[in-house]
Subunit: 341 residues, 2 copies
């Protein structure tokens, strides 16, 4: 099929040259057909297509990337895959990618900035069309890579900071503040906080700080709190609420670092016969389906993970070059009244 090729090295897959030969055109013409590039006469297009079909030709992207100095890969760097929130983001990203020639390569940092930097660097090796990261805070090295490359950069979830290229998200500090206001307006005064590892999770920390600010602005002290350096989970929420209530029996409302944790808290209340809202208000963050499916819908903040992922991809794919102006899109959030606060 391609006699010049080193038969020991390669599998005998047809190349563009084979297609071109069979269709009686030059390689570049075949290449244009493969990539849908104008102008091509309909007749030759069909001839090439038929040759592709006959040979079962599959383009070699490595060669294409090398020749054109770019790829159709989109690198996505996420803090975690255990947290369903990022699975939803990824889902949004995929929905925007489907039907395009672009494909997502995934990396997971486990909330470690140094790991993020390493992963970004290794993704650069593929000359991606875009890199999507979570948050606006990166190591200097990572920021350096992201700033100077010839690819688009998307920063997700957060807008409290300066974007490199495009940022899509919401203000977590403001959401935390509004959560506090929500509770204060409803008369709750003795607030508690149950959280997971805030060192690692910037956005959870920003919400916590916003909450404290709301209390401060009403002349109240920071919430009684119980945190633990564990990943977020329902079980953690349940167990930490138990601890918190033992230590601070007089609380009338508890804010959780997110809905996973809050659902755990709800289960704890069920077990102990504590009536949510009436005896103890529960407040989450995310607006997960599970929280809204509880017998009492969880009071929470609805963030838009799927939309954020989808939107950022659409923005990034709109142009290959970075636009002159950095763009920050606030997709906002919504306080969900629910039945638990």
């Amino acid at each position: 099929m391609n006699e010049k090729r080193n038969a020991f090295l390669r599998a005998d897959t047809p190349t563009l040259a084979d297609v071109a030969r069979l269709a009686n055109v030059s390689e570049i013409t075949a290449s244009r057909v493969v990539r849908n590039r104008q102008p091509i006469a309909e007749a030759t297009r069909l001839r090439v297509l038929s040759a592709i079909q006959q040979l079962g030709y599959i383009p070699n992207r490595a060669a294409g990337s090398l020749a054109s100095a770019g790829s159709t890969l989109i690198s996505v760097v996420l803090p975690s895959l255990s947290n369903i929130v990022f699975a939803e983001v990824l889902n949004g990203i995929h929905s925007a990618l489907s039907g395009t020639p672009f494909q997502a390569v995934i990396g997971v940092t486990d909330y470690d900035r140094e790991a993020e930097a390493r992963i970004v660097r290794s993704f650069l090796e593929w000359q991606p069309a875009a890199i999507i990261v979570v948050g606006l805070h990166h190591t200097p090295a990572a920021r350096g890579y992201l700033e100077k490359g010839r690819f688009r950069v998307g920063e997700l979830m957060d807008i409290d900071g300066e974007a490199i290229d495009v940022a899509v998200g919401m203000s977590h500090r403001q959401a935390g503040y509004d959560s506090g206001r929500h509770l204060l307006q409803r008369g709750y005064r003795r607030l508690g906080y149950v959280g997971h590892d805030l060192e690692a999770d910037d956005r959870a920390r920003a919400r916590y700080e916003g909450l404290c600010a709301a209390l401060r602005d009403s002349g109240l002290p920071p919430p009684a709190e119980r945190r633990f350096d564990v990943p977020t989970s329902t079980t953690a929420g349940r167990d930490l609420l138990a601890l918190l209530l033992t230590e601070h029996p007089g609380l009338d409302a508890v804010v959780f670092s997110n809905d996973d944790m809050a659902v755990g808290g709800f289960f704890y209340c069920l077990e102990k016969g504590i009536r949510p809202k009436e005896q103890l208000a529960l407040f989450g963050f995310s607006g997960l389906e599970i929280g809204q499916a509880l017998p009492m819908p969880l009071s929470t903040v609805r963030s838009q993970r799927f939309l954020a992922g989808k939107l950022i991809v659409e923005k990034l794919l709109a142009s290959r070059e970075r636009p002159a102006e950095k763009v920050t899109i606030d997709i906002g959030y919504e306080i969900v009244e629910g039945a638990t606060a």
Copy 2:
């Protein structure tokens, strides 16, 4: 930096040639250092490393792939990212990948076999080191691609069928059967079934069939059922259980297509004051954290998603070539007694 290069086309990123020049070695020597290939004198190694450092050299994987006819990409094709189960699989895959030079490219089929075939084909364009798919059933085209390529193939979650290269999973039919046995042994006789779209989800269908077989073997009719062509969700579980109980008030146990649905069923019981197990047994599948965190731990089947993902990657990376024998690894499952059945 590299004067021969077409400055209009390329960003001015250093290449291996630049590194070699600066370190006063040939390209191939520099290449050996980059790839940690023996033999290299320690002194030259350090010189090259320092040049890499100085220039901020980042290898071009497209060029490497092209020259070596292979890549360090692992393609992962999943039915869905909305279902947390696949996020967990992906998590397992990533945990096995971390620390290796391999990276995962993700595709999502939405449970559509034709989509799976298209995605597999497009992943072939990257000459991946391995392709991981879910299940053993594919379109003839997809199976053709997978069978004949020069890459490893992993099939996840299912072992009821013939593997192409390596399969890691469990028998869903057997799990369904055992679920039925569990309920029958505990005296339940009037069984119902609440499920999501079984046309799309082979494994859920296999479990359903296993359940029917268990009933049949005990001389009982198939379960009263309520299915709906929706993706799996807590809300769906709750609403479908409501419908099922309206139509079949006399049921004493309900099997759900998975834990998401079963948790919804549990919530429904809470709302209506139905006592799980005592008045109505609830049985799920997966062993999700949320089910075990309920005030009454859900009776279910624990499958090992994380482990499956991790294990299949380890098996696939063990050798670049497909072994002579196809391998099927049964990672089994565990009936979780729980408190709801």
